[in-house]
Symmetry: C2
Subunit: 338 residues, 2 copies
């Protein structure tokens, strides 16, 4: 089959590799209907994360089950399914607590920018859609595999409630999905931080009531201006840099909460500053599995349309161009069609 392999920083290749096989009796094989490039894939592409050897890349997928292991019970060949980038048994204490991203049997589902993918712990990981989706639903369903689930978690972790004021740091796909989540969870006011016109437009379409272009301390000042000096109840940190975290913490009111889902890179938080700010903090890799059934319903019923984050679609074998487009910020997020 065809798969995308990263050989080093800036070196993405579409290669022919062996088809994945059932290895464990709890595995399933999926024929990928759509996959995409994640902001976190760019960490390797940009040399922030090391690439030690050629590695199949991608962790977002939707598709049709083609084969299952002997112990798989609830998933069947022919099912159209979505799963998280973390496979989970959905039955351990952490899973039952809603933190499937900390499953004791957790496995990263890698190499998904490919025609087929092996998903471990299929029963726990995969959620079938109510039927075979039409092509128009594919993009939105694909976002549930990561960015929409992650944006949703950012909003949940930040304690978004009906009537509250939310600020969203980061105008990438996760931040944009976070805006959808904040709206769905009933936020009254959603302040998006974005200086890119097409992203600003999408942010407003998704529910942002205010868009500010300032960053850093100026960004914090603007949020304070907009909230009468109080600060936001909930802040979604969807970037992962020290500047973004500082901006997020500074934008929250005392007693407010920052939900952070951008994988932190060299982010140090001063305990004393956090203490003084009285801001709560919760983050981590999103337990996407927790939200999948609900989010599938919302997409299926047309209540949310997160697929709009894809502003470029390419054939799978043009993955290298997909990475370039995202790296150069010519695209928010690129969908790849096998």
């Amino acid at each position: 089959m065809r798969a995308t392999v990263i050989h080093g920083p800036g070196d993405i290749r579409s290669e022919s590799v062996p088809d994945p096989q059932i290895i464990k009796p709890t595995d399933a094989i999926i024929s990928v209907a759509a996959t995409c490039v994640c902001g976190s894939d760019l960490w390797s592409y940009r040399r922030v994360n090391p690439v030690k050897e050629p590695t199949p890349i991608g962790h977002e997928y939707v598709g049709v089950v083609t084969d299952i292991g002997s112990e798989v019970g609830s998933i069947e060949p022919g099912h159209f399914v979505i799963g998280s980038f973390y496979a989970s048994d959905n039955s351990c204490p952490h899973c039952r607590h809603g933190y499937q991203s900390a499953c004791v049997h957790r496995e990263f589902v890698g190499g998904c920018q490919a025609e087929m993918v092996r998903v471990p712990l299929a029963d726990g990981t995969l959620v079938p859609t109510p039927g075979q989706p039409g092509p128009d639903l594919l993009p939105s369903l694909l976002t549930l595999s990561d960015v929409m689930g992650t944006g949703w978690y950012a909003a949940v972790a930040a304690g978004v409630r009906p009537g509250c004021t939310v600020a969203v740091v980061g105008d990438g796909a996760v931040g944009l999905c976070g805006i959808i989540a904040a709206r769905e969870l009933g936020a009254d006011r959603i302040i998006a931080m974005s200086r890119h016109e097409p992203r600003q437009r999408l942010a407003r379409e998704y529910g942002a009531t205010d868009v500010i272009i300032e960053r850093g301390d100026d960004g914090v000042d603007r949020v304070m201006d907009l909230t009468g000096g109080v600060g936001a109840d909930s802040v979604l940190e969807c970037v992962g840099t020290a500047e973004a975290m500082s901006q997020a913490l500074g934008s929250a009111r005392p007693g407010g909460t920052v939900g952070f889902v951008g994988v932190p890179h060299e982010v140090e938080i001063s305990g004393e500053a956090l203490f003084r700010s009285q801001v709560g903090l919760r983050g981590g890799p999103a337990p996407v599995r927790r939200f999948l059934p609900d989010l599938i319903d919302r997409v299926w019923d047309g209540r949310i349309d997160p697929g709009g984050v894809f502003d470029l679609t390419l054939p799978l074998d043009q993955a290298a161009e997909a990475y370039r487009a995202m790296d150069e910020r010519r695209a928010v997020k690129v969908l790849l069609r096998p």
Copy 2:
């Protein structure tokens, strides 16, 4: 009047100073019935916090109102009152949100180890008891001014709920009050971390179901042993050191929460480690005022008895000995009687 003044590290003196006067029309003057030494007072005593000039010390107080400013409406001379170490107007947006410790008019109430104290923003700050308390209630009422309110906040910030498992880092007065709070909020299991026999006994009396003596990584391992490898739902960090924070974060389950109320000293939190742990974090100076009415009721009705944290009572003019006793860990907390 007589007041306690810190002149430098280890140098506590009982001195004669002018009586406090009404300065602003929102002030009240209180004749102090009882005051005490806080673990945080020891930061100055131990040279961790600088002492630039002789400074009246102490921030915990209960007593009878003797004078009020012209704009004070709800507090009257003769009322027996309790207030937080932070004066607050109880009406600004932060106060109304329950974060009186972030009041926009916040003032620290200092110099309370004295016969009299001036309390700013009396209407917002002071809460009268249902009547004049007998001497047996004084110690417990005094704890509400800080340590019991702070322990309560630690439990609230850590999300303690009925049926949950709690770990408490720190066996000082705040940690012990945190155990009371965890019990009152319905925790099933309360793991106290203490290696001092008298504090262990008090911890059990207050509701600890398990006491562990290990610290650091060994302490984390013991919590994991006791919770079947899962970790605690809620962890109360009542110390403020890097070791205590690390132990607290390590003891919480993914999705669990650390409430931290020990004033952090040189505590740096790695954003990446916090992300990986999936543990939430909320702390700060406790909004004691939020909890005062409820906690006064609990003490008045005999449901809680936090006054047990005082294991030494001295006359006010022996404040120097009170500090020595706490510094040398001969006493958990010393009550001073003017």
